[in-house]
Symmetry: C2
Subunit: 360 residues, 2 copies
């Protein structure tokens, strides 16, 4: 087992990475300091793993909220369901909330923990690759609004994260690939060596080779942890984590949540960001091909849906929260392994990329 520490002063926390972690009582005993524990999970994950988590919590007062699976349940209504249960069970501000699930559960449960009585401790047990490398690290929590993803949320840190690689054995292929999109992102934005390693090992990852997965999770989390530790509230380098996300959010919103997985939309968005970076003279054709190729090997989409034309894209991107005072600012690539800070992009150049993409 590997332990990574995310350094945030008083709010620092460890990420444990390795096989069979959820069955180890020591993690729960070390990080839960209350007799009241609520587990938030969903109907897909509960039959697989809830019992194994609860087995470590004997003697405590347990509450559970089991939501229907899916991004469409990452709403304030679901958060209210959690608050209702916490209050009707008279859970105090010392109660611990455990998020057992993918990014939707982590974001929703984290936001609920941030707001319940102005903040109760919570513990993350991410069950997807995407959540293990991305949404469980960095303290971003949120629910969606009909007019935009993650529009209501909080920065809030967990007590710890258990990134149990054994949980990935039950993950559908499509979700594994979506998680790899975010893994590849870390190589692209700040770790050229890791990107090369991924090019050499992508087949092993797709075959769920345990050692390769552990390395990929560790490098991704380490990269993200370094960025977050340096910039907790996203005023500087942290924005680079959004490579491909402004495009990706537009795709998710435009198509309706659930049509594309988040990682799939980000894969397309990274290709669009790469194309734009090539137009600005930073990447060459070969760089763009390497990026598209590794994503294609993961069976990820690399071009936007044909029914989102450039005008619709621009409209959808205008409400994204990276938009500051009417100027569209995007994260691009100076080279593979080095992202820009947000740069203001000329609308005509952006339009060229959007039109090229949808014509491919």
């Amino acid at each position: 087992m590997k332990t990574l520490n995310v350094n945030l002063g008083q709010r620092s926390y460890p990420i444990y990475i390795g096989p069979n972690l959820i069955g180890e009582p020591e993690f729960y005993d070390r990080h839960i300091h209350s007799s009241q524990v609520m587990v938030v999970t969903n109907q897909t994950v509960a039959p697989l793993y809830l019992g194994r988590v609860l087995a470590n919590l004997a003697g405590r007062q347990i509450a559970q909220v089991i939501l229907t699976d899916g991004e469409s349940y990452k709403t304030m209504a679901s958060a209210m369901q959690i608050f209702d249960e916490l209050l009707s069970r008279k859970f105090s501000r010392n109660a611990t909330l455990i998020a057992l699930g993918g990014g939707v559960i982590g974001d929703l449960a984290g936001f609920s923990a941030a707001c319940y009585q102005r903040g109760i401790p919570f513990m993350q047990i991410p069950t997807t690759l995407l959540a293990q490398v991305d949404s469980s690290v960095g303290g971003k929590t949120a629910v969606n609004h009909p007019l935009g993803k993650n529009m209501i949320g909080a920065f809030y840190q967990p007590q710890c994260v258990l990134a149990d690689t054994s949980l990935l054995n039950t993950l559908p292929d499509r979700e594994l690939s979506a998680g790899l999109a975010e893994v590849i992102k870390y190589g692209l934005i700040r770790d050229a060596q890791f990107f090369s390693w991924l090019e050499d090992n992508i087949e092993a990852l797709l075959m769920r080779d345990a050692e390769a997965l552990a390395h990929a999770i560790e490098r991704s989390c380490a990269n993200k942890a370094e960025v977050v530790a340096a910039d907790e509230r996203e005023t500087g380098e942290r924005a680079t984590l959004n490579l491909g996300h402004t495009f990706g959010h537009a795709i998710e919103t435009g198509m309706g949540y659930g049509v594309f997985l988040h990682g799939e939309a980000v894969a397309i968005g990274m290709c669009q960001a790469a194309d734009l970076s090539r137009r600005l003279g930073w990447l060459n054709d070969d760089d763009v091909s390497r990026i598209e190729h590794i994503l294609q090997r993961c069976r990820l989409p690399t071009t936007p849906p044909t029914n989102l034309d450039a005008d619709r894209f621009l409209e959808l991107m205008a409400v994204d929260k990276k938009n500051v005072d009417g100027k569209l600012r995007l994260i691009l690539l100076e080279e593979i392994g080095r992202a820009t800070l947000p740069v203001s992009v000329d609308v005509d150049t952006l339009r060229s990329t959007l039109e090229t993409g949808s014509r491919k």
Copy 2:
């Protein structure tokens, strides 16, 4: 005009205290760094002061949400109304939110600002004495839940607070008195000299003497700012600000929000805390009388409603968020001007106080 600084490192902010502040453009220009501004207020305050605030915001993109007045609108539904408006107007994460109103508006708008896109800047213009001395200082924001007050919230600091004493000229007598309950609280918990000053000047305050009000607001804010600066997240001394509040919240919840004003419920709660402090040998009969007397001179209630018996009180207090793991912990007084940290209270002694109170 006086300026008090609340020292919270990067999140420090000034409180400006004095007459006719809302008409001064310099405060808005100094603290609003975006072209998008939303004002959240209510139907009582809007006709009196909204125009004067908006007059200072010419040239900016303005949105406004005007809620029905009252604690019953301090809900997640109202927060959602604010989010809907911010998103439909495509307001970015740099937009500034102005809270123009009493504690309900301040808490609700502050919570909405804390959550919108994980936090946008906000400015407080409290229009009641209670909000000026209490809810605008310290970063506590929240909405109510049917099962308890302030159960969903965040710690979030404003850019600045304008405590404009001229706004108090339109405040109903009953609300002025409710605000004085919190002013008196600051004397009780940590400032015996201020408590004596209040005993000497309570009539001037009730007659809205401008100089007396400014002094009372300044001393209250200074006391609260010192406590908050020392203990932002309420792990130590800050808990003393809750003197009377566990009782008070039980009264508000038990009677239904809106029957008692918050300050009225706290006035009763402070008398109950004083009675309990006497039973534990800390206060003498004379101390308790001084406390009851000054509250009575403000025409504040000092005994609980007869239909809340001891059993009902105990039940209501069990869900209060100061309740840690089943033990009831209360702030009491060691003497006038010195509060205890939360102390575990024997249920029989507590019951004696609750029974005495309701029989008076």
